[in-house]
């Protein structure tokens, strides 16, 4: 438990730094386990309050149960929820059969960019973790994006001790990653420790499958698992050697590197 409190202390510090330095700050919430833990940590950092809007980039292909869960928590926790959508692309019929990277770029990356631009957010908090995949392992806690939202991973600014990049040229923005040091197991251990409400798609409800990572319905597949509660999940993860995002189609080949350079979350 001590290691979870250490992770919590670090994340809370980062969230408070973000809140102090960015006048127009927002947090991305996909309703998945990671960004929900992130939301919980914000409530920790600000003593039960969430003093910035939560953004959901809605691709329209999310699993319906996720939208119900989103609206329920938004009401219960009095969240300022902002939903964005790339309506133009959807009207033109964008879907995953046009190519997964093409679809992710249009509905998620560009949907996010449109949302950020329309609201003028200069700081965006995301729940990405270093252990998810290779390019996220190379992120900074405070990571600058240029005016096109692109990530110049070749030339990232230094990050020393607890001092983060909080100043930036006009027109650019900073992505803030408080969960970088958390692993998948840590997320579930913390959900258990704090009794955080999570969406039950992560559990096996009798058919011997569950979702391990949540995304759009067409591009996310469940895994074989009989984990029926958080303890089962933690036990399962301690013994698995299957990658967390093995059910996420966009990760194939160099998908994530290409997506993330262009500003994917």
């Amino acid at each position: 438990m001590k290691h979870l409190r250490q992770l919590e202390d670090q994340s809370v510090y980062i969230l408070r730094e973000a809140y102090k330095h960015f006048d127009n700050l927002a947090m991305l919430w996909s309703m998945g386990k990671d960004s929900t833990v992130l939301l919980w940590l914000a409530r920790k950092a600000f003593f039960g309050h969430v003093p910035f809007p939560l953004l959901h980039v809605d691709t329209s292909y999310k699993i319906p149960a996720m939208i119900d869960y989103r609206d329920r928590l938004a009401h219960e926790w009095r969240l300022n929820l902002v939903v964005g959508q790339n309506e133009e692309a959807l009207a033109a019929g964008m879907n995953h059969t046009m190519g997964r990277v093409v679809c992710c770029t249009a509905l998620k990356t560009n949907g996010l960019k449109q949302l950020l631009e329309s609201k003028g957010y200069t700081g965006v908090i995301l729940g990405v973790r270093a252990d998810e995949e290779g390019t996220r392992a190379k992120e900074r806690y405070f990571s600058p994006r240029d005016k096109h939202g692109d990530w110049d991973f070749r030339d990232q600014p230094p990050e020393l001790w607890d001092q983060y990049k909080t100043t930036f040229p006009p027109g650019t923005h900073i992505r803030i990653h408080p969960l970088l040091d958390w692993t998948e197991i840590n997320i579930w251990e913390y959900i258990k420790l704090e009794n955080i409400p999570f969406i039950d798609l992560y559990l096996d409800k009798g058919d011997g499958t569950r979702y391990r990572s949540l995304g759009c319905a067409p591009c996310t597949s469940p895994i074989k698992s009989t984990a029926k509660n958080v303890d089962d999940i933690i036990e399962e993860l301690r013994h698995t050697t299957v990658a967390e995002r093995s059910g996420r189609a966009q990760d194939e080949g160099r998908g994530m590197e290409l997506l993330r350079k262009d500003g994917y979350m």
Binding site: K2, L7, R16, A45, F46, K138, P158, W161
Partner: protein, 613 residues
């Protein structure tokens, strides 16, 4: 063979060393030999290598970017995770190429322990030394040296011994001592997770055993308390002071002193969300929130401590610094200094010497520090700040410099530099600690009056219109419903200073001290004190500095008047050069009072004052 028992702690490890000495390979091997790789990862990377017609390397497992794999080097630090014997390791693979030194430093600054690699065939190289020196500067005291590629030197003990001797001598010059030298072949797996059959002469631990022997950072809770204020929240009825305890511990009822403002109060509660029962104490490492028994005004950047162990306060210190900026660091240029949560403008007062990390030779007389150089220098801040020496306190004893938008350098504080305000600052501290307070606080008065206390100090040569401007400003403030008072030096001369001889009255130091103490009393009554430096004649620069020190932390709005263009004293807020339009000048000063948060933005029958921060 992976040991996935429940983790009890996390440990951050960085792998550093010269380019091509095998850092990423070591990491890949460590994962492969402990069964820590996801299913199919090894096979997937092997297939990609085969397809691209190149030999498989363990390094490819973590060099995620296409460019990194093509060039065979690590560009940026990667965090990877593995679990071994109930400890979760976060391993930071830092790049060894000198072009990416800033990435190596970013990685190492997060680490609690390090593995430093040296190629047995190439021996000790430039970056081996630089990285060794920087580990010490960054405060990473636990580390082991891994001598890699032993297979290329026929596993010979004399080669290993030679490297150990040479490198120990280098490290000894700055008193760094590795826990271990380990001969390995990362490529072949000798002494990584498994003991090598090739080097029976080596009896020490493997790399994996060495990781297990690294200690979790010693508890800083034993030290005196340091709580740099991160922010003050007023989301509901509670006014919560937040921050991360960087040393020591605190509990409900403790008497806290905030430096450099010298404000004091007792801890009423420790606040937390979803923790039952509510905590009553906190210790080093925790991000906490406390409420105080008095509504004192404290700001981000102040350091809370117990009164028996105060941090240092000055406007200057000496430091060891490494520079990573795109443009060189220059003496005399302005930078933003960040020490813990304090951010303040500073300039490089002097550069004592530049240190060559190859042979630790020192070069003196330079006015600039280039990218990737290490130097000893003196920094001077615009206002006094609280800090510690890095030998005593880690977090409050180190700093970064921001150039334009980026963190461009970092360092550790080695020495306090005394400034000319030292004696007055000590007087102010002793006086503030002994100050007898009534029931009405400064904050109560501010709320009642609709503005904070402040000093408007008008400086300049003779016959520039200072007195007239001061009188105009006082009149305007009072007409606007503010509580302002004109403090004229002449009134002090005839009364308070009547005991002084004519000669003594000519001494700026004592006159400024008396003047400053009177202004301090008036600001404690909640007034906006309007004043000029007329009594000090041409010594106004010295006098205004002393007044600033004595009225601290009340803000001083410095206005400089001159008949023609001239250099105003440091920290001047409003410059009035040439013929003065007094109404316009008054408006400018009032705007500055609003900008500084002394005055509320709107005035009404009952002023609305944004009291919470």
């Amino acid at each position: 063979m992976s040991e996935t028992t429940k983790p009890s702690e996390n440990l951050n490890i960085v792998i550093v060393g010269h380019v091509d000495h095998g850092k990423s390979t070591l990491l890949g091997r460590l994962y492969a030999d402990t069964g820590s790789l996801p299913d199919g990862k090894l096979e997937k990377v092997q297939a990609i290598c085969k397809q691209q017609g190149k030999e498989f390397e363990y390094a490819f497992l973590f060099d995620a970017f296409l460019e990194e794999q093509e060039q065979g080097i690590t560009i940026d630090t990667a965090r990877t995770f593995f679990m071994w014997k109930s400890r979760q390791y976060i391993i930071i693979d830092a790049p060894g190429h000198k072009e990416f030194l800033k990435n190596m430093i970013s990685g190492a600054a997060r680490a609690e322990a390090a593995l430093l690699l040296i190629d047995a065939l190439e021996g000790v190289k430039e970056q081996s030394k630089k990285h060794g020196y920087l580990l010490s500067l960054l405060g990473v005291r636990q580390f082991a040296v891994v001598v890699n590629k032993m297979d290329l030197v026929g596993y010979r003990q004399d080669v290993f011994d030679g490297i150990e001797k040479e490198y120990r001598e280098f490290l000894g010059q700055f008193k760094a001592a590795p826990s271990q030298f380990i001969p390995v072949s990362a490529k072949l797996g000798d002494n990584i997770a498994n003991r090598s059959g090739q080097m029976s002469w080596y009896k020490g631990p493997t790399v994996l055993e060495t990781l297990g022997a690294f200690n979790k950072e010693a508890a800083r809770s034993e030290q005196p308390l340091r709580l740099p204020v991160q922010d003050v929240y007023k989301f509901d009825a509670r006014r919560i002071i937040t921050g991360r305890i960087t040393a020591g511990c605190l509990k409900v009822g403790d008497h806290l002193v905030f430096s450099p403002s010298n404000k004091r109060a007792n801890i009423r509660t420790v606040e937390a969300f979803n923790i039952e029962p509510q905590p009553t104490e906190g210790q080093a490492g925790q991000s906490i929130g406390v409420t105080l028994d008095e509504q004192i005004f404290v700001e981000r950047g102040e350091v809370a401590s117990h009164q028996a162990h105060l941090p240092l306060v000055s406007t200057a210190f000496r430091a060891n610094l490494f520079w990573l900026g795109k443009r060189p660091l220059e003496r005399g240029r302005k930078y933003l200094l960040r020490v813990a949560t304090k951010e303040v403008d500073c300039e490089v007062a002097s550069i004592q010497r530049i240190i060559d990390t190859m042979d630790l030779a020192q070069q003196q007389g330079s006015n600039t520090i280039n990218k990737n150089q290490v130097a000893e220098l003196t920094l001077r801040t615009k206002v006094p700040i609280a800090f510690d020496l890095s030998a005593s306190f880690e977090a409050t004893g180190r700093f970064v410099l921001v150039d334009e938008y980026d963190i461009a350098g970092g360092g550790i504080i080695t020495e306090l530099v005394h400034d000319d305000q030292e004696f007055l600052r000590e007087e102010a501290r002793r006086r503030d600690f002994a100050w007898v307070k009534g029931e009405v606080t400064v904050e109560d008065r501010a709320q009642q009056y609709g503005h904070w206390a402040a000093v408007v100090l008008i400086t300049g040569g003779r016959h520039t219109g200072k007195s007239f401007l001061a009188r105009t400003l006082e009149g305007r403030l009072v007409a606007d419903g503010r509580h302002a008072y004109l403090l004229d030096g002449e009134n002090l001369r005839r009364g308070l200073d009547a005991d002084l001889s004519e000669e003594e009255r000519g001494q700026t130091t004592e006159m400024a001290r008396r003047y400053g103490e009177v202004a301090r009393l008036l600001t404690d009554t909640g007034l906006i004190v309007v004043s000029t430096t007329n009594p000090f004649g041409l010594a106004y620069r010295e006098a205004s500095q002393a007044i600033r020190t004595l009225v601290h932390p009340a803000p001083v709005i410095a206005v400089h008047m001159s008949k023609s263009e001239e250099e105003p004293p440091p920290n001047t807020d409003v410059v009035l050069a040439g013929p003065t339009h007094f109404d316009a000048a008054t408006t400018r000063i009032i705007d500055e009072l609003k900008r500084r948060g002394v005055l509320a933005q709107a005035i009404g029958a009952k002023p609305i004052f944004q009291y919470s921060i």
